[in-house]
């Protein structure tokens, strides 16, 4: 049985998909530069943000992740030229669907470059706070889905 966390000391679990070339390096820089940020994000490195099938996001949410962060290179900076433009369309479409189901607040698409260690720390802090405000993913406690 999973105990529902009390909202006050609720620590959201965030699945972070970071692109290898920008955001992962950005997260690395945040670490090397010793910027403080909440330890709520579980990082999965992918070669490009367009590697992320929206299905990954859905799997995370239905299995009970409180939030999903997708981070890639800034538009125009993709290592594979156009990968992140495709990601943007896919996540926009996903967002439209999740809106109907009341889950769209839990998915975040951010652009973080390799030099933006500071920004990575800010992004994670920001979404952790937003999710704390929002409370746990209701599907975390439901098994019959």
């Amino acid at each position: 049985m999973i105990e529902m966390d009390d909202k006050s000391d609720f620590e959201p679990k965030i699945i972070g998909f970071l692109c290898n070339w920008c955001s992962y390096a950005g997260a690395d820089l945040a670490g090397v530069s010793r910027f403080q940020y909440p330890a709520n994000v579980r990082v999965i490195r992918v070669m490009c943000s367009s590697r992320i099938d929206p299905q990954f996001v859905l799997k995370a949410l239905t299995e009970g992740a409180d939030g999903v962060l997708i981070a890639g290179c800034h538009p125009g900076d993709c290592h594979y030229i156009e990968g992140n433009y495709r990601t943007r369309r896919r996540i926009a479409a996903l967002d439209k669907i999740l809106e109907k189901y009341g889950l769209s607040d839990r998915v975040f698409l951010e652009w973080v470059s390799a030099s933006e260690g500071k920004r990575f720390a800010e992004v994670v802090t920001d979404i952790t706070n937003k999710l704390k405000e929002l409370g746990p993913n209701p599907h975390k406690a439901r098994w019959e889905i």
Binding site: Q55, T62, G64, R88, A92, K96, I97, K100, G102
Partner: protein, 349 residues
């Protein structure tokens, strides 16, 4: 574009027969009356054309499903607008070779599931009233349909706006070789009449979506909505747009055996069987939404009567609207999830 007059359904059959006899096509896929009912069939013998009912308002499944991966031989198909749209969409997805198809599509004024009644004459307003009296329901998808006129096809047949008879319009006039058809004109009042029906249907659709939004908005009601799903995969199999050769839910990751089920159960301590009901439905949503033609075939085959069409009506417009795209209307245009613009969707992040 050539436009010709067809006096009645028989004239359309003549067109089919001519194509078959002249060898322009090797077969015709069309609805045919058999002894136990009316079935979609592929006809190679022109003598069977007399038994066909090309404009019968019946829909039991979207026949575009069966045209996927068509071969090298020419075939003419008589389809409903939703099926024609699915064919166009599958063409863009490289699943159908439209060069080998002659797609013939007529205005559709609603269809009936053959299990509810066997009607072979095309629906008109008067006929619809009659059906209502006999309490034979028109399919739900048809009552809220926005695209009931032919999309881009080889031969389109127009019924709305004409005073009896049909207008045939085609860019491929070689398909009519040997027939003496009278030239006609697209009736002037047609557009107004089409818009009138579209507006009526749109109103009904909006009401449907409004009702659904009340049901789906919260996580609890969302679970409630899909709770009866038994993962029979009927909706997937009968969906023309759900075309993957290997579905995720047939791979070891998606089709779990007990060892994996135990592993997955450990996350929450308990696991419903069959697993991943919501995940399955949401996956279908994201995979299909950009191409959904809203034919309602999924709901038709759902053994647990989940109102799936309502879901599609609710999300398809939103997703396709985002990219200013309407699925299946044209044969050559970039798919929304394949193309992109450099500056767009700034608000997403």
């Amino acid at each position: 574009m050539g436009t010709y007059i067809l006096e009645n359904e028989e004239a359309l059959k003549k067109v089919l027969e001519n194509m078959l006899r002249k060898g322009m096509v090797e077969g015709v896929m069309v609805q045919t009356a058999g002894e136990s009912g009316v079935f979609t069939s592929i006809i190679t013998d022109p003598d069977f054309i007399s038994k066909t009912a090309p404009l019968a308002p019946l829909f039991s499944n979207n026949n575009a499903v069966f045209l996927q991966n068509n071969g090298t031989r020419n075939i003419a198909v008589v389809v409903k607008p939703c099926e024609a749209r699915a064919i166009n969409e599958l063409k863009k997805l490289n699943q159908i070779n439209t060069d080998k198809l002659v797609v013939i599509c007529a205005d559709c004024q609603g269809t009936i599931n053959p299990r509810d009644g066997l009607i072979t004459e095309p629906l008109t307003e008067a006929k619809k009233k009659e059906l209502e009296k006999d309490s034979i329901p028109i399919r739900k998808a048809c009552t809220v349909c926005e695209h009931f006129t032919p999309p881009e096809v080889d031969i389109s047949i127009m019924a709305i706006g004409t005073t009896g008879g049909y207008i045939l319009a085609t860019d491929r006039e070689e398909l009519l070789d040997g027939l003496e058809l009278k030239a006609g004109e697209i009736p002037s009042g047609r557009n107004a009449e089409v818009e009138k029906i579209r507006k009526e249907n749109l109103e009904k659709k909006e009401k449907m979506v409004e009702e659904l939004d009340k049901k789906l908005g919260s996580p609890d009601t969302l679970v409630e909505f899909f709770k009866d799903c038994i993962r029979c995969d009927n909706c997937r199999d009968m969906c023309p747009i759900c075309y993957c050769k290997q579905c995720y839910f047939e791979t070891p990751l998606g089709d779990l055996r007990t060892d994996e089920m135990l592993h997955q159960a450990a996350t929450k301590g308990i696991l419903r069987i069959p697993p991943d009901i919501l995940f399955y439905q949401l996956t279908r949503n994201i995979h299909v939404a950009a191409g959904c033609v809203e034919c309602g075939a999924c709901e038709e085959v759902c053994p647990r009567d989940i109102p799936l069409l309502d879901v599609w009506k609710s999300i398809t417009g939103n997703v396709q609207g985002l990219f200013e795209y309407v699925s299946g209307m044209k044969r050559d245009e970039p798919l929304p999830l394949v193309g992109f613009k450099e500056s767009e969707l700034e608000e997403v992040k």
